[in-house]
Every structure is written in C-alpha cells, then in structure tokens.
C-alpha cells in the first residue's frame, strides 16, 4: 500500500494551530487511555458483585436448608444479597458514566486529529506513469478474481464435506416415518407385554362396544367409538348425537343444588360449614408407640401411579388420577376402607399426540383434579384427553381436545355444572395466538356443547362455578383477565383486567365477591353480581402482600387467606382488604388452604398440615404430620380428611367417625 499524502521533503515550521491541535489530540488520547484503565478496573470490581453467581449466598442457603429456623442466617443472606445488588448497580452506573466520558474523549481526539491533518495536508503529486499501469492492473485483477473463485470453490467444498456429516437427514427421515407409524400409546401398569408403543407398552385393547364409550378427534367432530377410531385411524362419519336434554341426565345434576361430597378441586365453592369432627392433630411421620401407627390414621393406601391432583369424594368413593410418562389411569378407592375398588387405564386417544406431553416436574403427568356430576367422574390429562367413567368404572366416553401448547403442561382442573363438564383449556404463548378456550362437554356424551374463545395465553388455574344473585357463573382467571361466563351458553358475562404473567392460583368466592390472585399482580376482590348489574366485575379492593404463584386463595366471606409458595400466609379482611395478620410458616407450599368451619387447613410440601383459626389474629390450633410430601389439596368429608401424598392416600379421622 502507498500513502496518498506524500511526506514533504522539508519539515514544516511549527504552526501554533498545529501544535495546539496535536497537543489536544495527545491530551485526549491520554484521557481516553485513562478511562480505559478505570473502566477495566471497574469491570474487574463488578465481577465480585455479580448477582448471577452468588456462590456465597448459595452456600448460606444450603446451610439454611439444614437449619430453616435460623433467622440470623436468613438475615445474613438478605444483607449479602442486597450488598451484591447494590455493588452491581454502582459498578454499572460507573461504567455508563465512564463510557460517555470516553466517547467525549474520542470525539475530541478525532476533531484534533483531523485539524492536525489539515495543517499537514499537501496536494497529491502527479504520477504520469499511473496511466500506463491500467493494463497491468486489469491483468492482475483477472488473476485475483480467479484466485477468489478458487477460494470460494474451496469453501464450498468444505461445506459439502461438512454437510455429509450433518444429522439433519436422519431426523427428517424419522419425521417422515412418524405419521405412518402407530401412535406410541401410553400404556397402563398391567398392559400386556410385548405390544408396541412407548417402552414396549401399547394402548390397551379397544374397549368392547358394551363398555367402550365414544372417542372424539380434536376439534368439534362428533365422538366415535374407540374401536372404530383405532382400527381405521380416522373418525367415522358423525352420527346423530343425543342432546343434553335427552341424554338421561339425572335430576340431581339438572339443578343447581350442590352435591354432597367433595366433588371437584378444593371441594364446595362455599366451603365446609362445620369444623366439628375433623382432627386437628395427627402424626404418622415416625415410629409410633402403637405398632399399627397413629390410630387417627384410619387407613393408608398406596396409589399405583403418581400425580399431583387432589382426591375428590362422592358416594363413599374417592376418585383420583395418576400417570407417569408411559402409564396413566383413573383410580377409585373405598372411602371407608381405602381399598382400591377399580382402576381404569386411560390410553392415548386418537388425536392425543404421538409423544407423551412435555411437562415440568412440578406439574407431572396427572396434575388436573377430577370432577363428578354425581353419576360420572371426569378426568383430563396434560395431552388434552378427557375421559368419563361412571361410578362403577365403566368408560362412558373419551374426547381428545388435542395437545395443548402449554409451557409447563396443562394443569387446570375440571368443574361440573348441571349436565356438562367445564374445561378451561388455555394455551399458546400469547393471547394473540387465539388458542385458549372455555369448553363445555356434555357430561353424558362428551359432545361439545359450546366453546368460547378466551383472550388469554396458557394458564394453570381452574374454573369455579358460583351462584350469584341466583344465576350461575363460571369464573376463570388468566393473563390478564378474570372472566365470568354463563355456564349454560358460554356467553361472557363480565371481565376484569387485573392479572398478569403466569396465572396458577384459582379464584375463590363468597358472598357475591370473587377473589383472584397472582404473584406478579396482586389479590383482587371483584364484585361478582349478575351480568345485568353494571358494577359486575368492579374491583372492590386489592392486596399486595403474600401473593401466591401456585396456591389458590381461600375465603369464608369474612376473611381471605393467601399463601405464597415460600411460606408466607397473609390474612385479609374480606370487607375492605385490610391486612389483618401475616405469618411466616417457614415451609414451602403447593397445596391450597381449605377453610373448614372456623379453621384453616394448610399442608406443606414436607407433609405437615398446619391448622389455625380462621380469625382476625393468627392462632395455631394444631398440626398433622405425614411421612411423605404433600402437594395435593386434602378433601374434607364426614369428619374424615383425605390426604394424597406423593405415593400414598391417607384417611384421617376420629375413631367414632370411622363407621
């Protein structure tokens, strides 16, 4: 390369302007280099205040795990955390200020350098021989182009060689073969060995027509017999469907009269009125003087498959579902003896996906609590398969809603209203996806009665059916709305925009007010009067403390309790939202609180149920200990408490109530 500004033969006399510009340039560059040094030092210091990798905090946290009641250690962690964050932001602010100072220095340097160059600028000299070089340049240019072509060919050859070792052809082939293969089913523990499917377990044989209920593909098609769907892989032509009014719905479910029992997630919406007869103390966590254990433990039964769904109780039977990656089933236990009365495998329905759903560990493969209308029990699994069984275990129908797009796995529980099952089927990463819906299926047939689109992304809360001003409403929560629907038609009655982000807690209701909570939004008391009331959906008050991300709030109409996952329990006044008390339980919770009469029962993940008064002051009443973690919400029926642990189902009650 040659300079276009030839150096003059004789040195120029120093010009004051040149000297000043050159000096300014040197000062600027010195300043810039100093700033670089300071920024480098700052960057090194910032590393020691990095909240991303707080090794010391992790160490202290580990110690706190072994000694959870050590308040001094807890305070030390908080102080250290605050110190790290303060240091981090201080270093960041210094870096920002330093960058601007450096930019100013560079600007001065550039200006001074250009001024300096002006003082030394010289017109270029003529170069008569340049014109004669044009042909030489052209010839060299042709060769250089040829060389470039060869380099590019070499790079292409390298790409070709690399492409031969690329794995894309393998998975593309696998993807092409996938649709033609039988859908890998989810078997059951006692499925016949040797059949195809995931890990050698195939879907169970198609139920006989007598016992097999209809199965429906995703969407709005009519249910079809599972045998036909299995044999052809396609649903047969839709057949006339009995209407819900002619489907033989019992009078018990055709009215709004609540069923006796614990018929859905968290039991009756209005709560259990009488606490008398329910235990406030038990201990099954360790060796007991009595060889058979705590006598207050009436029975204990192992549940064949895991699941975080809660037990429901009706007609002397307990129903729950369980699943792992390859098996899933519905179970029925005798409420008196704990004996497993029946278990029914739930195979993957056509349209239910070819792979097990991807779920979080905390969600599991059976997170949704079942529901009953008094004649049938209903279960839903994370791949969108819905099943109905009668109380004797005969399959009535199965419907595949299609694999939902749910970040953690579909976990919303079912609710029943009269002759229909209500499914909050929220999915998609954004409300704009338009995939979320509230769906009503006919309880007797599985036929879709209505489907209302919901303007929310995926959520994990469950719908509740309330009666406000004599009219039934289905109240749902999702980001960012609390929305009420008419359960008969699916028509939206009112909505309130107050929530945000991932919505796990379900709403609760008492005395014309719905309480909805989310940890990034707040606790909101919302007027839930009839749709004709223009004030329906009005926010009465909001609370900002102890907000839950998993546990649902509970209310008795006077008090509202919210439980954060990390152990904070806050009691609000239902009338005005005033915080009455807060208690750090020093435990983790995934189970929701239940108000039974004047007591609140709250089970933690270590299997300890904390019982305290539903009062305007925190007054512990007792505690119950089991030997295993509890994540489901217990059921309270006829003086018995049914608790599902990670592996076992427990029944706790006084001897006299054992019957």
């Amino acid at each position: 390369m040659t300079s276009t500004d030839p150096t003059p033969d004789t040195p120029l006399a120093p010009d004051p302007g040149y000297v000043a510009a050159a000096a300014t340039a040197w000062v600027a560059v010195t300043f810039c280099l100093s700033m670089v040094g300071l920024l480098a030092v700052n960057a090194v210091q910032a590393r020691s205040h990095k909240p991303l990798a707080p090794a010391q905090i992790e160490l202290l946290r580990a110690q706190l795990g072994t000694d959870p009641r050590n308040d001094a250690l807890r305070a030390q962690i908080r102080d250290l955390d605050a110190e790290l964050r303060t240091g981090y932001f201080a270093a960041r602010n210094r870096a920002i200020q330093g960058t601007y100072l450096l930019a100013a220095g560079i600007l001065v340097f550039l200006i001074a350098t250009h001024v300096t160059a002006k003082f030394r600028a010289r017109l270029p000299l003529p170069s008569p021989e340049a014109a004669g070089r044009s042909w030489i340049d052209a010839a060299l240019g042709l060769r250089s182009m040829g060389a470039l072509g060869l380099v590019m060919a070499g790079l292409l050859l390298g790409m070709v060689i690399l492409a031969r070792h690329d794995s894309s052809a393998e998975y593309i082939r696998a993807a092409r073969q996938a649709p033609g293969s039988a859908p890998p089913g989810v078997g059951v523990p006692d499925a016949p060995p040797g059949s195809a499917g995931v890990k050698g377990l195939a879907p169970p044989p198609a139920p006989a027509p007598k016992s097999g209920g209809p199965v429906r593909q995703p969407g709005r098609g009519a249910p079809v017999p599972p045998a036909a769907a299995k044999s052809s892989g396609k649903p047969p032509a839709p057949k006339p469907e009995p209407t819900s009014s002619s489907s033989g719905t019992s009078t018990a479910v055709a009215t709004d009269k609540p069923l006796e029992g614990w018929i859905a997630f968290r039991g009756p919406v209005e709560g259990v009125g009488d606490a008398a007869g329910f235990l406030t103390e038990w201990d099954q966590s360790g060796p007991h003087p009595d060889a058979s254990g705590d006598p207050r433990l009436l029975w204990q039964t192992k549940v064949p498959l895991p699941g975080h769904n809660s037990p429901i109780v009706f007609g002397g039977k307990i129903f729950l579902s369980g699943a792992d990656q390859t098996h899933r089933a519905v179970f029925c236990f005798d409420a008196v003896t704990g004996k497993l009365l029946w278990q029914k495998p739930c195979e993957v329905l056509p349209g239910g996906g070819t792979e097990p759903p991807k779920v979080m560990k905390d969600t599991g493969y059976a997170p949704s609590t079942m529901a009953t209308d008094g004649e049938r029990v209903f279960a839903i699994f994370p791949n969108g398969d819905v099943f109905a069984y009668d109380l004797q275990g005969e399959r009535k129908w199965g419907v595949a809603l299609g694999m939902p797009e749910n970040a953690y796995g579909h976990a919303s529980s079912l609710a029943c209203y009269r002759d229909r099952v209500l499914i909050q089927y929220d999915q998609g990463h954004s409300a704009d996806d338009g995939k979320s819906a509230l769906i009503a299926l006919g309880a007797a047939t599985g036929k879709e009665l209505w489907r209302t689109r919901r303007p929310v992304p995926n959520s994990w809360s469950s719908p509740i059916v309330i009666t406000a001003d004599g009219h039934a409403q289905v109240v749902t929560t999702g980001d960012p709305f609390v929305i009420s629907y008419d359960p008969q038609t699916g028509k939206e009655l009112w909505r309130t925009k107050c929530l945000m982000a991932d919505i796990g807690p379900s709403p609760c209701y008492a005395a014309g007010v719905v309480y909805a909570a989310a940890n990034l939004a707040g606790l909101y008391a919302i007027r839930a009067t009839a749709a004709s009331d223009k004030q329906a959906g009005e926010v009465l008050w909001e609370g900002k403390e102890g907000l839950p991300d998993t546990c649902s709030p509970a209310t008795n109409g006077k008090l509202v309790f919210v439980v954060s996952t990390y152990g904070s329990v806050v009691c609000y006044s239902a009338a005005d939202g005033k915080k009455l008390w807060e208690e750090e339980m020093k435990a983790q919770f995934q189970s929701s609180p239940v108000i039974v009469g004047n007591r609140v029962y709250l089970a933690d993940t270590q299997g300890v149920t904390r019982i305290f008064e539903a009062a305007d002051q925190y007054k512990p009443v007792g505690s119950g200990r089991l030997g295993e973690p509890v994540r489901a919400t217990p059921a309270f029926v006829d003086g018995r408490i049914y608790v599902r642990g990670d592996s076992n189902l427990y029944c706790l009650g006084a001897e006299k109530a054992a019957g």
């Binding site: 300079s3 920024l39 909240p51 220095g105 044009s134 042909w135 590019m152």
Partner: protein, 428 residues
Amino acid sequence: MRSSLLGVLVAIAFASSCRAAEQFPPPEFSQGYHYPGISTPAPRALWATYVDLAVLAATLGLTAYVALRRRRRRELVVVVVFSLLYFGFYRHGCICSVGAIQNVALAAFDRTYALPVAAAAFFLIPLLAALLFGRVFCAAACPLGAAQEVVLLRPLKVPAWLDRALSTLPYVYLGAAVLFAGTGAAFVICDYDPFVLFFRLSGSRGMLLFGVGILLLATVVGRPYCRYLCPYGVLLRWLAPFARWQVRITPADCVNCHLCASACPYGAIRAPTPEPGAIGRTVGRGRLATLMLLLPVLIVVGGWMMSLGRPILARVHPKVRLANRLWLEEQGRVQGKTPMTEAFERQGRPSTDAYREAAAVHARFGIGSWAFGGWLGLVVGLRMIGQAIRRHRRDYDADPAACVACARCYASCPVEHAGPQALAGPPM
C-alpha cells in the same frame, strides 16, 4: 498518533463491553413488595416514521446539491456529521437502507410478511436518488458510511488487483442476505452490522471486536465496509452509472495530471488507458470468449455445490438448529440440554414437530441454495469478464459505480482552481 488511535479504539471495545446489559433473577422479596408491571415500548409513531423519511429525502437532496453543484467538501462533512448523529446515534442505526434489503427479500418470498412502509421507502428512496445523482446516499446520508468517513485519518491506496477481488465480496453478502432473509432464517445484515453496537452502546463481544476491527481498518483504508462488504452498495453500483447527473472531476477539460486519482481514497477514479495493440486485441478476444463459455459452467457448478452444502446453510435457521440439537440429545450424542431445547420441551410438543418444521426449512433452502450458488458463479464469471474487457479512456474520470461523491477530488483538480472561466459549463 496511530498508536494513540489504536488505544482509543481499544477503549471503545472496553467501554461497550462494560455497558453490555445483563439480566439476573429479581430479589426474592419476602413480603411487602409489589413487582412493577411488565411494560413494552410502544411502536414508533407513524408521524415519526414520516419524519425519518423526510429527513432522508432532504439529506439526499442536500448531499446532491453540495456534492454536484456546490462541490464543497467542507459542507459535505457537515451533512456527514448530521447523518451520523441522526440516523446513527439518534435512530440507533435502524431502520437503514442497507438492512431494508432483508425486509424486501422476506416480503418477496413470504406472502405472510407485510413489508413495512418505512422499510420499503428506505430501500427505494436511495435507489431513486442513485438514478438521479449517483451514490449520494453513500456520500453523506448513510450512517455506516459516515462512521467510516469521520475516522479516516491516513488513507492508503489498496492495490487495484486486491481491490477488485475484495469488491466481489458484497455480491456474496447480498446473495447470502437475500437467501437467509427470504427463507426466514436470519437478518444477517443486522446481526452482523459492525456499527450498530456503537450507535446503541450495546452488543455482543464478537460484534464489538468486528466493529472495532472495521473502524481500525477504516482509519487507513477508505470505507472498508462500504467497498468490501455492503450489500446495498451492490444495488447502488448497478444504478449509479445510469444517473442523470454524475460526479465530474473537472469542470472543464482534463489535463491528465493524475492528482485526482491520488486524492481519491476509494480507488474510484479510472485512469486513461492506451489503445491495445493488434496482438493484445487478439489475446483479449480469446480470453473473453473463454470466460463467456466458462460462465454457464460456473453458474451450474456453483449452484450444484451449494445445494450439496445446503444442510450447513440451513443451520442458520433457528428451527434447524433446534431440531439438530434435539436429535443429538435424543440420540445421546451430546450431553445436557440447551436453553433452546429446554424451552421447546416446556411447550409440551413432540420432537417430531421440530423435525417436521426443520424439514420444511430444508426444503426452502433446497431452491435457495441452488440460486445462491448459481449467483456466486455468475458474479465471479461476470467480474472476470469485466476484467477481460478493455475499454479505451482518454481522461481521468470517476467510476460512477464506485464513486461515493465524497468531493475530495475537486480540491485536487488544477482546473477547478483555474478560475471562473474554467467553470463556465455547469457540472449538472
């Protein structure tokens, strides 16, 4: 002074690194704290977009007036600094005409993509200006060119043979940008914009090094990005020779002093060429015929080889990268999961979904890779043919395809200094 400059640019590297934003989990507040709501910035108002377009049009007009009519370098520098401040630091280098190529390409190949008005206008207006005034966009309206213009301190002349080889790279970049944008894989021009991180004071470490490297080079080599990488410059090169008003070095007859060519830091001034002899003509014709016969071969071979390398090209697409990784994880060929595969699994979708989507992307790359490879063969062949064609020139003149109308050559021309009588003929 050069070492000082080096230090300053290294300083920029440190500074930008320190400003890089980091994310970390929020504190685990025990109680009493209300998290602020998630806020998303509102889209840029439509009127502001129109203001940007008006500023672009006005800048182009002013540049044309100053460069072609006023012929004042100093005034042009003022416009350069304005563009750097407005389109660079104020608008953060976005949207720019260079990147708008990708929006146009995506709109051309993806019917579901609605081309934003601003992108279309930023793409078209400088091209229209090039048809009228030549590369006035490069002269002062482009913030990328402006950034290089202000740091050029001691320009060195790049040897012509090297310049001609390197100036093929923008064609490659253009082809790649269209391919990746058209297939929805990536906007590589934006992803590898070496200046945008200075405009935004934020960016990755790799891009920082790339940007600092380009700026360091730009202190001694005039506009290395514009000449050897910019894909939009390719389009301007095509249109500028047809401009109604072009840069004329001398306002009157050229005296063949070569001073202008020495003053041009971009090698955009063509020297006079002597008449080739009879032997030279014969050799030249034979070479030209050979190259013209070679052209279709280069196109076919380029397309064929690129189609064989399609899986490597397709890896630029995030769906293909996801499928590749999922497959390797499923096959146990790699250990652990990446955030990308974890996020996919949380969606609860089967991995065959990812494979099918990747297969669709591969199919799109099937046609695209043939076109891209053929394009490369065409470019190399045509540029070799261009070198083999001998044109006779009597005077020094500005190559309208390469000239960025920087107005440096005017001051070097003795005819320019000859007085008003020499400037009787208007340059426009």
